[in-house]
Symmetry: C2
Subunit: 108 residues, 2 copies
């Protein structure tokens, strides 16, 4: 059985946000993002892939379209295909996110 | 911004497993399943949809193909398209699962 424990994806880097693959198929990518305080993913968009962020630990500031909101553990944020979206950890705590993208983007 | 808090999906029924929609699009379904002790979803398969279960609370016995394993919070279980899969809460605690299906099945 293909089982992964989300607590095992803990790799942070001082250099930049780290993405760890949990599962992937031709239909989706499921990753854990580890963002040290001050790290971010610049706003970008995917024409034909939906993204969902779920906060596992810490707090992050999410941008979807022109809106920005900061959320903590248990919050799930939907960035539909075509919407500009990004995420930033303003600190002080490290943050871990479960991130779904479906289908996988043409350029990961 | 379309934000949902996973802690807000807590509806259990004595009658059967409850499914609560978190987000859905033409590309995926993301649900929270609430299983009281003794409740289950019978093994079934989807020809062309992948499913991922993430245990939020409690412990469940997962079946994928011919394998059965019991897992607790943080465990993520991949049931690829075509694989028979099901889940049961043998108790004694209630269980909550985050469940991804992508793409949505033809018959939900």
């Amino acid at each position: 059985m293909d089982v992964k424990h989300l607590s095992s994806f803990q790799g942070f880097s001082l250099e930049k946000l780290q993405k760890h693959a949990v599962f992937q198929s031709g239909r989706f990518l499921l990753d854990v993002y580890c963002l040290a305080a001050g790290q971010s993913q610049k706003p970008h968009r995917h024409t034909s892939s939906d993204k969902v962020y779920v906060v596992l630990e810490g707090r992050c500031r999410f941008r979807v379209g022109t809106e920005e909101e900061t959320h903590g553990p248990g919050a799930s944020v939907f960035a539909p295909a075509g919407a500009e979206h990004g995420v930033a950890n303003d600190g002080p705590e490290p943050a871990r996110l479960l991130v779904l993208m479906t289908p996988p983007p043409e350029h990961v």
